[in-house]
């Protein structure tokens, strides 16, 4: 038994993981999860904004983190559209973010009666290494700094940008990201312009971001796909995060099981060695 456990090929584990993730998709087991405080704060923040408020929405993610950031972006965009908030999309960390966010906004706009240019706009992608300089300039003059949208139209001419002149005219900043790009928003927009900021981040980056949540620099946060799952439940929608909930549960239990099994094997080995050395003496 110990020999089998010690020599277990990794590919058996991979197969177990695939089964643990794939099989639950065939069982529709509704599960409610209570929202954590960080998710509640973000939900309440968006709920508190009056219709017509302007939100700067950063989409700093790529397909590499889409398992977490896409459900977050979808659920936040749907909530903003439900609340009739205006928003501008922008991407820094990865050029893919511009297209991925555009696709999500276009996917849901007809459902909520939104029109691009009138209710929302996509400013496109800007170079990541110039993000800080861009945000610092944006705080001073939004229209000149933003320049054009992805279709080449001057943002100053778009109805969605009416009344937005400086960073202080933003009602909220949201950054959905798999990187540390949110820190630049805090340093150059949230802090100087005193605009509330929220974050949708991958679970890997979340422990670091809780520090900002505690200091009040972040008003709310979605922690990975679990945060998106909680938010979907608050909105009463069944999105990708809800669909993935059971699979994630079983996969986690497998990992926990593997950790305990591995340590169990280590303890068995130690006991055997003790017995062997005891027999010899």
């Amino acid at each position: 038994m110990l020999k089998v456990m010690q020599n277990l090929d990794r590919r058996y584990l991979y197969a177990l993981l695939i089964l643990a993730v794939a099989l639950p998709f065939f069982f529709n087991v509704p599960m409610t999860v209570p929202a954590t405080q960080s998710t509640e704060s973000l939900y309440d923040k968006i709920e508190s904004l009056p219709a017509g408020s302007f939100v700067l929405f950063g989409g700093d993610w790529s397909a590499g983190t889409r398992g977490e950031n896409r459900p977050q972006s979808e659920v936040l965009i749907r909530h903003m559209m439900r609340k009739k908030l205006r928003f501008a999309l922008i991407a820094f960390a990865d050029p893919q973010g511009k297209t991925l966010m555009q696709d999500i906004a276009v996917q849901f706009q007809s459902q909520y009666g939104y029109r691009e240019g009138v209710d929302w706009v996509n400013w496109g992608w800007r170079v990541a290494s110039g993000q800080e300089n861009f945000l610092k300039a944006l705080a001073q003059d939004v229209l000149t700094t933003a320049g054009t949208d992805i279709h080449g139209a001057q943002v100053a001419t778009l109805p969605v940008m009416q009344g937005i002149r400086t960073g202080r005219d933003f009602s909220l900043i949201i950054d959905v990201t798999g990187t540390a790009s949110y820190q630049a928003y805090i340093q150059f927009l949230q802090g100087p312009c005193k605009v509330p900021m929220a974050l949708g981040t991958t679970a890997v980056m979340a422990p670091e971001a809780f520090n900002y949540l505690d200091s009040g620099q972040l008003s709310g946060m979605l922690n990975g796909v679990q945060g998106a799952y909680e938010y979907e439940q608050k909105l009463g929608i069944e999105g990708r995060a809800t669909r993935a909930g059971l699979s994630l549960s079983f996969a986690h239990l497998l990992i926990i099981g593997m950790i305990l099994l591995g340590n169990g094997a280590m303890l068995m080995e130690r006991r055997q060695q003790k017995r062997a050395s005891g027999d010899r003496s």
């Binding site: 990794r10 584990l13 991979y14 177990l16 993981l17 599960m31 999860v33 209570p34 405080q37 960080s38 397909a63 590499g64 983190t65 889409r66 398992g67 893919q96 297209t99 800007r126 170079v127 290494s129 110039g130 300089n133 861009f134 610092k136 300039a137 944006l138 001073q140 003059d141 939004v142 000149t144 700094t145 002149r165 400086t166 202080r168 979340a206 422990p207 809780f210 520090n211 949540l213 505690d214 200091s215 922690n223 990975g224 679990q226 799952y229 909930g245 059971l246 994630l248 549960s249 996969a251 986690h252 239990l253 497998l254 990992i255 926990i256 593997m258 950790i259 591995g262 340590n263 280590m266």
Partner: protein, 274 residues
């Protein structure tokens, strides 16, 4: 730019201004080349200092009311109006440098292709996919018709997204393998790490939350729910540790920034006379 010198020039005359700007730039580079070798380090240090001076002064100098077109209640100093054009300036500069990485990759893969070694097929695949994606994305912008949009979709949605997402998801398998083979509890600290990790994992999955859902929603026993324990670990135990690390990082970053700005930094890059 409202200065009488920096005004837009249209028509044929603009070519003269373009040529003049290019000539001026070449002159500056020529004059820089005349700087003796032993003084070049000081020129670089001076440029570093001047570069830092802009943002440092803009932030540190006192502000006063400056009515602008964008904001009649705007507060700033004499450097604040230059933030916007400087933001545009840096975007153009950094976008222009994207070719550096491309040249490097073309050199590496081009050499492999020319040598026709055993990995040259992969380099060919790289070059073809690079050229295809570049062409298709530019075509979609220049000629936004249905065919180009569909080609773009095939490469972006079909290939790039799937490859990117799959590349990162492979790590999940390695985590399973590592959890079984490498995560060994050999010390009290490792035990604490393991217990914390398991509590966090149980608190972030629906089944884990279900396991303690029998506990009341209020009162003392409520705090033993897995999701409450996880939330407590993240907000009350993890956050202060991260903050302590952040304090060190913040002060350290400021110190390093000051050293770079004032030319005090040592090391092969900063001491090389070029």
């Amino acid at each position: 730019m409202h200065s009488s010198f920096f005004h837009p020039v249209t028509g044929i005359a603009r070519f003269a201004w373009y040529a003049g700007a290019v000539a001026f730039s070449v002159l500056i580079i020529f004059l820089l080349q005349l700087v003796p070798q032993r003084f070049r380090r000081y020129v670089i240090l001076s440029a570093t200092f001047v570069g830092g001076l802009f943002y440092a002064l803009e932030f540190l100098l006192p502000v006063h009311l400056m009515r602008t077109k964008a904001d009649p209640l705007h507060m700033g100093n004499f450097l604040t109006p230059y933030l916007v054009p400087f933001g545009v300036f840096t975007q153009i500069v950094f976008a222009a440098t994207v070719g550096l990485g491309v040249i490097n990759m073309l050199q590496v893969h081009g050499k492999r292709l020319i040598r026709r070694g055993k990995d040259s097929a992969f380099s060919l695949a790289f070059l073809i996919s690079f050229a295809l994606m570049l062409l298709v994305t530019l075509l979609k912008k220049v000629h936004p018709n249905a065919i180009n949009a569909n080609y773009y979709r095939l490469l972006f949605d079909g290939a790039l997204q799937s490859l990117d997402a799959t590349m990162f998801s492979v790590v999940a398998f390695y985590i399973v393998s590592a959890a079984y083979r490498a995560f060994r509890v050999r010390s009290p600290e490792a035990t604490m790490l393991l217990v914390t990790a398991i509590l966090v994992m149980l608190g972030q999955i629906a089944i884990g939350i279900l396991l303690t859902s029998f506990l009341p929603k209020t009162g003392v026993w409520h705090n033993l729910r897995f999701e409450i324990i996880r939330d407590w670990i993240l907000r009350k135990a993890n956050a202060p540790s991260i903050r302590a690390i952040q304090f060190g990082l913040g002060i350290g970053s400021l110190a390093v920034a000051l050293r770079i700005w004032l030319g005090l930094e040592r090391g092969s890059y900063f001491e090389n006379q070029g």
